[in-house]
């Protein structure tokens, strides 16, 4: 398909969508959505309710209608969805066709949902990501509790791969930490999964010097998971008693950050002549970033200074004795 034909097709599709969607939806369907997904119009059958803060219920008998608020967890952000890893999908690729019936039947609503492993596990296409090892790590993690699934952190309707190809590491760190904070900084969500007492993340980390710099510069999982070199991101979340608390785990020349946060950095991003130099594109970790050449040069100057002082002292003592 040539580019003009494709553009015209997209415009035609966009025009067609206005017939199906409610008037407000016309501005919500961006051309970019049609570029990545062949089911945008089909998906609108769901998103005209699940893409909104409220939805309309009509009673044909009385012709009365009311607006109801959509439960926040069931709202799908179109922009986030059509830029996510699952942006090409139709809603019914994962959800039952029976959801086309409204109100949804109870049998449909309690249907078992797909999990990551149902598509990604034991599949050569995804072999390089070792989803099976991730699953094993999750089973051993403290997150392995009732009703906790991959989706609690990785919303399939908005999940993006940030860390693997992060141009802006700060943005990737923020994105990753927000996955944790979504529950750990929101007690209402936290109580949906556990009866534990409320955690105040900032109070729990008040022992960290320069807390803000730490939270901005590293992900929660740097300290709260066990290092695993066979998978890209460790998923075995440790109990808080086993979390890293020794500063030198990161602040030393053999910093664990090189096995966690910075393991994704491309070879181009590495800087020769520095210890853990790849970190220096974005930050500076006291104790971890050194320049061996500068250290050698420093020792040379220090040695020459001490030698000069020793020689001068020797001459003074000799002169004193000869006098």
């Amino acid at each position: 398909m040539t580019i003009p034909t494709r553009v015209i097709s997209i415009l035609l599709l966009a025009a067609a969508s206005t017939l199906m969607a409610q008037p407000d939806d016309t501005i919500k369907l961006k051309p970019s959505y049609f570029e990545v997904n062949d089911f945008v119009n089909d998906n609108e059958a769901c998103l005209r309710c699940h893409g909104e803060m409220k939805f309309k219920i009509e009673d044909p008998g009385s012709e009365r209608s009311i607006h109801k608020r959509m439960y926040p967890d069931l709202i799908i952000d179109r922009e986030a969805y059509y830029t996510s890893v699952h942006k090409t999908f139709s809603c019914t690729d994962c959800h039952s066709y029976d959801f086309n019936t409204f109100p949804h039947n109870i049998e449909t609503r309690v249907e078992e949902q797909f999990l990551c492993m149902d598509c990604h596990g034991y599949d050569e296409t995804f072999a390089q990501y070792h989803f099976e090892d991730i699953e094993t790590e999750f089973q051993e993690s403290i997150h392995n509790i009732d009703e906790f699934t991959c989706w609690k952190c990785h919303d399939p309707h908005s999940y993006k791969v940030f860390m693997r190809n992060a141009d802006d590491l700060k943005e990737a760190i923020l994105y990753d930490n927000n996955m944790c904070l979504k529950c750990h900084a929101n007690f209402d969500r936290f109580t949906l999964l556990t009866d534990r007492e409320e955690i105040n993340v900032l109070d729990a980390h008040d022992w960290l010097p320069n807390q803000t710099a730490h939270i901005r510069s590293v992900r929660c999982i740097e300290c709260h998971t066990e290092i695993n070199d066979s998978i890209l991101i460790a998923h075995k979340i440790l109990p808080k008693t086993e979390a890293v608390q020794r500063c030198t785990e990161c602040h030393s020349s053999d910093s664990r950050l090189m096995h966690t946060l910075y393991k994704f950095q491309s070879r181009e991003g590495r800087r020769s002549g520095f210890v853990n130099g790849v970190m220096m594109n974005n930050t500076y970790v006291i104790g971890a970033n050194q320049v061996p050449l500068m250290d050698k040069f420093s020792f040379l100057i220090l040695g020459l200074t001490i030698l000069g002082i020793a020689f001068h002292t020797f001459l003074r003592i000799r002169k004193q004795k000869t006098d």
Partner: protein
């Protein structure tokens, strides 16, 4: 042999000097601890070093402010600010004394008096240390203490990393100065004469 005494180090300078020396030694010790931090073999606990380093740095910074203000309001500033045109020749003369004349018992080429507290080499090194290196190490240290004020990247390198390396380099330069400073302080009439001067305020010379 008569002893000639000049009151050169007023109380405020001596207090400043002892605070400066102690805080700098703590900063140096803990700074080396950071640089060679190791999971197994660090010579000081990292978290303890952080507290000592931060507190000492704040003390040193305020103390530096005392030094600058003191020099402005007292007459002490003149010892740093009066420069002569033949400074280069004077520096050479002083250097020649240290590498040759001192062993021949020659007289000091620039004897200390009320108007001249430092010889040319002392003056140039003290000015460089107090008005170039100290501001740089304090500013870079403040940057590391409050990293949010530092530019994120400069030419693709972390602004924090550049600040960190500047801080390390200044720390090293000042440490080398400290070694030389301590040694040259043994070059008085007797090895401990100049150290005593900094305690009692009087510069002593045998005539």
């Amino acid at each position: 042999m008569a002893t000639h005494r000049i009151y050169l180090y007023p109380v405020w300078i001596r207090i400043w000097h002892v605070i400066n020396a102690l805080s700098f030694l703590l900063l140096l010790f803990t700074g080396i601890g950071f640089h060679y931090a190791s999971i197994d073999a660090g010579f000081i606990r990292f978290d303890v070093a952080v507290i000592i380093h931060n507190v000492s740095a704040i003390v040193l910074t305020f103390n530096y402010g005392l030094f600058v203000i003191g020099n402005l309001v007292s007459g002490n500033g003149k010892y740093y600010s009066s420069w002569k045109k033949d400074m280069g020749a004077n520096l050479w003369t002083q250097l020649q004394f240290y590498i040759g004349g001192i062993f021949k018992k020659e007289a000091h080429p620039f004897p200390i008096n009320k108007d001249r507290k430092f010889n040319p080499l002392q003056k140039i090194s003290y000015v460089a240390v107090m008005y170039i290196c100290m501001p740089l190490i304090i500013i870079s240290g403040l940057g590391l203490l409050f990293p949010e004020i530092i530019v994120y990247q400069v030419l693709g390198i972390s602004g924090l990393a550049l600040t960190g390396f500047l801080h390390q380099i200044m720390g090293f330069v000042l440490s080398i100065f400290l070694l030389i400073h301590l040694y040259t302080c043994t070059l008085g009439d007797k090895p401990l004469t100049l150290f005593k001067s900094m305690l009692n305020g009087y510069h002593e010379e045998h005539e």
